[in-house]
């Protein structure tokens, strides 16, 4: 199914619409309040964008520095060129350490790779422990948001799902539902052989991975099992802890409107003799999966992305259709750029076009990614590669030719003004327009006044 068909379905899904309406208010307003706490929010955005640009410019150097420092602390760094490589590497790690069960905290990169399926095929039980991801694992659904993966579900749907899957009396309150999830998940943390996490940042100067979470599951996943695997994109590296301090002022505020998340976990190396907890083995999988293709090109600024989700939270298209309509891991404006770039331009023709270019995504982006410009560039690539429909190309050709021939353009405008007015009868509205059902299915077209401005202007001047 294509974007358009899915979006239409989502518009008609009343439960989804309820969930989206609620989420939108929360995300937009809490962020607006949170950024007010920073008097110089714009200066932070500039600083954050420049940190990210600095990293991207010398990505190889920072990655080498990261590998050297991580290795010095006993971690093993793996390089995965493709999504398949990620799955192979993680399955090999699981086999090496005799892993039967893995607990996982949220990782969108692992969604890019469909890692859970690969591990399950290799005989490893995988348990998602982020509450949202856990709900989705029970429901066999993909996330619809990169920060709040289950934002598309209402509380009632979760109550039904828990009752059915946990076979316990139905709970209706959020605290009771959370408690039940905790009780189910706790034994898994204790019995897992491996913990899989993502990483919001990699810190080059210390060789650490950093995750921001609110539920505490991330800390359990990264410290309790004897093996910890952190998977993240190569672009997530940041030079210093000082730089992290800047980025952390923006990430939680932009994402959830928090000054800081409940947990900020920095994982450096393996458990030492003096540590009371921590993994005996720490593997860090650094993923390319299309990222290096962006280096040095027009899409490079997309690599600044710190995955806060503000662009989708503020996108009026996303707000009305939710994340599943976008068809891949990343929804909203950032997904409309990343999906065609990573999964192929021809596989996501609608996405770069599914924007009014209202520009709000670029306004809220904490690292100043010019998302509308990137989407426009993808539209240009579609045109250059002949991927637009012949009808659209023909319409554009006709429009361009007439617009460049003012006499003919003026004559056609005069005719159109009269015909459209005539079609409205005596009224001021057209209820139907041949070939224009995209407009008239949901709206009337206000009729023109009947004569063009330039026609009238010329008359008045006489």
């Amino acid at each position: 199914m294509h974007f358009k068909a899915r979006a239409g379905e989502k518009l008609r899904d009343t439960r989804l619409q309820q969930a989206l309406a609620k989420a939108q208010g929360k995300f937009v307003h809490t962020r607006a309040e949170a950024i007010l706490e920073l008097e110089n929010f714009e200066a932070y955005r500039d600083a954050a964008a420049s940190i990210r640009d600095r990293v991207i410019r010398d990505l190889d150097l920072y990655l080498e520095q990261f590998e050297k420092n991580a290795s010095a602390r006993g971690a093993v760094v793996h390089w995965a060129e493709t999504a398949q490589d990620v799955n192979r590497i993680v399955c090999e790690i699981a086999e090496l350490h005799g892993v039967r069960k893995a607990v996982k905290s949220k990782s969108m990169v692992s969604e890019e790779c469909a890692l859970n399926e690969a591990l399950e095929a290799a005989g490893v039980e995988v348990v998602e422990t982020d509450l949202g991801e856990y709900i989705l694992q029970l429901a066999h659904e993909p996330p619809s948001h990169i920060v709040a993966p289950v934002v598309h579900k209402t509380k009632d749907e979760v109550s039904d799902l828990f009752e059915q899957k946990h076979k316990k009396p139905r709970k209706t309150g959020i605290p009771e539902l959370c408690r039940e999830a905790r009780e189910v998940l706790r034994p898994h943390f204790l019995s897992a052989d491996m913990g899989i996490s993502g990483a919001n940042f990699l810190i080059a100067e210390t060789g650490s991975t950093l995750i921001v979470t609110n539920e505490g599951n991330g800390r359990l996943v990264t410290t309790m099992p004897r093996v910890h695997v952190a998977i993240t994109g190569i672009e997530k590296v940041v030079p210093t802890l000082e730089d992290i301090a800047t980025l952390l002022r923006l990430l939680p505020r932009s994402a959830t409107g928090q000054a800081i998340t409940n947990y900020v976990s920095i994982n450096t190396g393996i458990k030492s003799r003096d540590d009371s907890d921590g993994p005996e083995h720490f593997h860090i999988v650094l993923v390319d999966a299309g990222r290096t293709k962006l280096l040095g090109g027009v899409m490079q600024s997309m690599l600044r992305c710190i995955r806060c989700g503000a662009c989708m939270n503020h996108c009026p298209v996303y707000q009305n259709i939710g994340g599943h309509a976008y068809g891949w891991v990343y929804p909203g404006p950032m997904g409309s750029v990343l999906t065609p770039v990573y999964a192929g331009l021809e596989n996501a023709l609608d996405l770069p076009n599914a924007s009014t270019f209202c520009g709000e995504c670029a306004v809220v982006c904490p690292v100043k990614i010019p998302l509308p410009d990137l989407m426009r560039n993808l539209r240009e690539q579609q045109t250059e590669q002949g991927l637009r429909s012949w009808q659209e190309r023909l319409a554009l050709k006709i429009w361009a030719w007439t617009a460049l021939h003012p006499g003919i353009y003026a004559a056609l405008s005069r005719i159109a003004a009269r015909i459209l007015k005539g079609m409205a009868g005596g009224g001021k509205l057209l209820h139907y327009l041949p070939g224009g059902h995209g407009w008239t299915d949901g709206r009337d077209l206000p009729a023109p006044e009947g004569r063009t401005f330039r026609e009238l202007y010329r008359e008045r001047r006489r």
């Binding site: 209202c358 045109t383 003012p406 949901g442 709206r443 023109p448």
Partner: protein, 243 residues
């Protein structure tokens, strides 16, 4: 000083009276206004559909036609934004053209922005007896910073009462060809806008862009609201609509 009125293709075809309202306001502000007769479109449909070449050709056409004007003013944030923000990008690799295009960009203004910040207009011509709510169109707001300018002018309009709606800065769903390509999403966005307009209790929604006007009016009428008026800010300021 000489102002070239960039009428915009939608005003020319659909709402000539808005063009005349703009003309009157500019003349009242003391400018000599010329209207180049061969003007057509700013090129945005091509540019935003991923085809730069017609957009560039049209940019050069606009450059030629408005060469003799000290300022270029459009009753549209979208078209003014195209000229001001996007024309220079079209020629960023052509230094010879870029200089002239950038100069054109810098002397191009959205109507209310021009009236407030350049013309420093003290009094408006019209009056309006009733309440209005203002929709901030995206390009004007985010590309040109048009936010207080129309409100400042509306505040000078006798009889007019402004009732701000919730989410006045949220896109109405027009988006040019988006409104036809993704008609159902666009309609839903227009619906949200209509809800906000109606909840404000204002008798009219006022805005500064034709695309949004047609979209919002089209949806209001389809929903059966034949009462809420949809007016361009120039119509109110020039007094074409009066009471």
């Amino acid at each position: 000083m000489r102002v070239g009125l960039f009428v915009t293709c939608l005003v020319d075809l659909m709402r000539p009276r808005i063009g005349f309202a703009a003309l009157q306001l500019l003349e009242a502000a003391g400018y000599e206004v010329i209207v180049p007769d061969a003007q057509t479109c700013c090129g945005q449909p091509g540019y935003n559909s991923g085809d730069r070449s017609p957009a560039k050709a049209l940019a050069l056409k606009v450059l030629r036609e408005f060469a003799g004007c000290d300022y270029v003013v459009a009753p549209s944030g979208s078209c003014a934004g195209m000229i001001r923000e996007h024309y220079p990008r079209l020629f960023q690799d052509e230094p010879q053209q870029l200089e002239k295009i950038s100069e054109l960009a810098q002397r191009t203004y959205e109507l209310t922005d021009f009236l407030v910040n350049v013309a420093k207009l003290q009094n408006v011509l019209g009056s309006f007896h009733g309440s209005i709510t203002y929709h901030d169109s995206c390009s004007g707001l985010r590309e040109l910073g048009v936010k207080n300018q129309p409100r400042q002018l509306l505040a000078k309009t006798p009889g007019l009462q402004l009732k701000e709606m919730r989410d006045c800065e949220t896109c109405c769903g027009f988006g040019g060809t988006f409104s036809v390509k993704f008609g159902d999403i666009s309609t839903r966005m227009a619906d949200n806008k209509c809800n906000a307009i109606q909840a404000s209790g204002a008798a009219a929604v006022v805005l500064g862009d034709l695309g949004c006007m047609l979209n919002i009016e089209g949806r209001l009428r389809r929903r059966g609201d034949n009462k809420t008026r949809v007016l361009h800010v120039a119509e109110i300021l020039a007094g074409e609509e009066g009471t």
